[in-house]
């Protein structure tokens, strides 16, 4: 069981923390890939990650990438919710591989004519506010910590073989003052782009599909 809030708070000084686990490392370098948003709650962050990962995969890997506008034009209802490998109840997320809707993902891969899908879900977001009080007792509220729980998978089709599974706690803190060099992301955009770079680098490093 994920004690998501506590994990997020303990990781609040890191802009992102990636944990892609590679179950397989052999990828066809001549293959085609599409990044797929499978949870529609946080549209802005989802879109940045999907676009950014697509661009980075195209720039850094040998794979042919189907871009987001093409995914949207081929699958008219995209983006839409696709059941992910987890159970969500209240504010808790529990991994559950049996829940993943592999049939819908396989149909996506077929329609998009790709060998690989990188699918991701962001089911939960946590926001906190910072309340400061001056010596005269006036209080001021400002944006504090915002954290997202992220699940991503790289899946091969039509074999339905899972290449990698990832979990991450992404977060940003506007105007954070940090001692040391590791400054957290200041915006959702910076957070999403930083994470996309990390995820793509991990995929390339572990599968050897880099240019």
């Amino acid at each position: 069981m994920k004690k998501f809030f506590l994990v997020l708070l303990s990781l609040s000084f890191f802009s992102c923390y990636s944990t892609h686990k590679f179950l397989n490392t052999d990828i066809n370098p001549g293959g085609r890939i599409a990044v797929v948003i499978a949870e529609t709650k946080y549209d802005d962050v989802n879109t940045i990650i999907a676009n950014s990962m697509s661009e980075l995969l195209e720039a850094k890997s040998k794979l042919t990438v189907v871009h987001q506008h093409k995914v949207k034009s081929i699958i008219g209802t995209y983006p839409e919710r696709i059941r992910g490998p987890y159970k969500h109840l209240g504010d808790e997320i529990e991994p559950d591989n049996k829940r993943r809707d592999m049939d819908t993902l396989a149909a996506y891969a077929k329609k998009l004519n790709v060998n690989y899908l990188y699918v991701f879900w962001i089911p939960i977001c946590v926001e906190s506010k910072i309340i400061t009080t001056d010596p005269y007792g006036n209080t001021r509220e400002s944006a504090g910590f915002t954290g997202y729980y992220y699940i991503g998978e790289l899946i091969e089709f039509p074999s339905r073989r899972i290449i990698a599974q990832g979990e991450a706690e992404l977060s940003y803190i506007p105007n954070a003052t940090v001692i040391g060099s590791r400054k957290p992301a200041a915006s959702s955009r910076e957070m999403a782009i930083n994470f996309s770079e990390l995820a793509v680098d991990e995929i390339i490093k572990n599968t050897g599909i880099g240019n």
Binding site: T77, E80, G90, D91, P123
Partner: protein, 206 residues
């Protein structure tokens, strides 16, 4: 042996105390008919719908539906059958598009927005049930200091063919524990909420 005899009742007392401390409470408006004296007709068909496409609403609708099937007295359409008949339901269908902060609810506690009502009526046209019960969670809260979990459950019962809201509810279901050995699980809050709402509904079945 003497010590064991003394310890066992003491331990049982502690366990029972913890069970009683881990309690649940309800605040808000329980399931209430709009018109006084209204009763749901026994043997009629009903479909329980999830108000939004969020996992929590979907889970709650499933639990309530399962419980109502067990209770009998009404013909409850299984969730799998609803999914089969309504394309993209429940993962990609949002029927409730207002929150409980909406000022119109203060004057009219059985309020449904025009767009929500139109969506529910469209679903009923396909399902053809006598009643639609739509349920959703307006807000969730989790307080770690006393391990409290709470959720605000809302519902509307709509009768057909009149297409009229005949009953509504809006209740906080909360559970808390003061002992880390017995932490509160969300599933417990969901199950309690489904039991409470089902019991209240069945009190209004003739």
């Amino acid at each position: 042996m003497f010590t064991v005899k003394k310890i066992l009742p003491f331990f049982a007392f502690i366990c029972l105390s913890v069970v009683f401390i881990s309690c649940s409470t309800n605040k808000g408006k329980k399931f209430t008919p709009v018109d006084e004296g209204f009763l749901i007709e026994s043997g009629k068909s009903i479909a329980v719908l999830s108000g939004t496409n969020g996992d929590n609403d979907i889970n709650l609708a499933e639990l309530i539906s399962e419980r109502m099937i067990i209770e009998g007295r009404l013909k409850v359409m299984p969730q799998a059958e609803i999914s089969r008949r309504i394309p993209r339901y429940p993962l990609n269908v949002n029927l409730i598009d207002f929150s409980y902060n909406d000022k119109r609810i203060k004057n009219n506690p059985s309020y449904l927005s025009d767009t929500s009502k139109a969506g529910i009526d469209a679903v009923q046209k396909i399902l053809k049930t006598d009643y639609i019960l739509i349920v959703w969670i307006d807000s969730l809260s989790s307080l770690p200091y006393n391990d409290q979990r709470a959720m605000n459950v809302a519902s509307r019962l709509i009768s057909y063919p009149a297409a009229k809201v005949v009953a509504y509810s809006f209740r906080w279901n909360e559970k808390h524990s003061y002992c880390c050995l017995f932490p509160v699980k969300w599933i417990g809050v969901f199950e309690n909420a489904s039991i409470d709402l089902t019991e209240e509904i069945y009190k209004n079945v003739k």
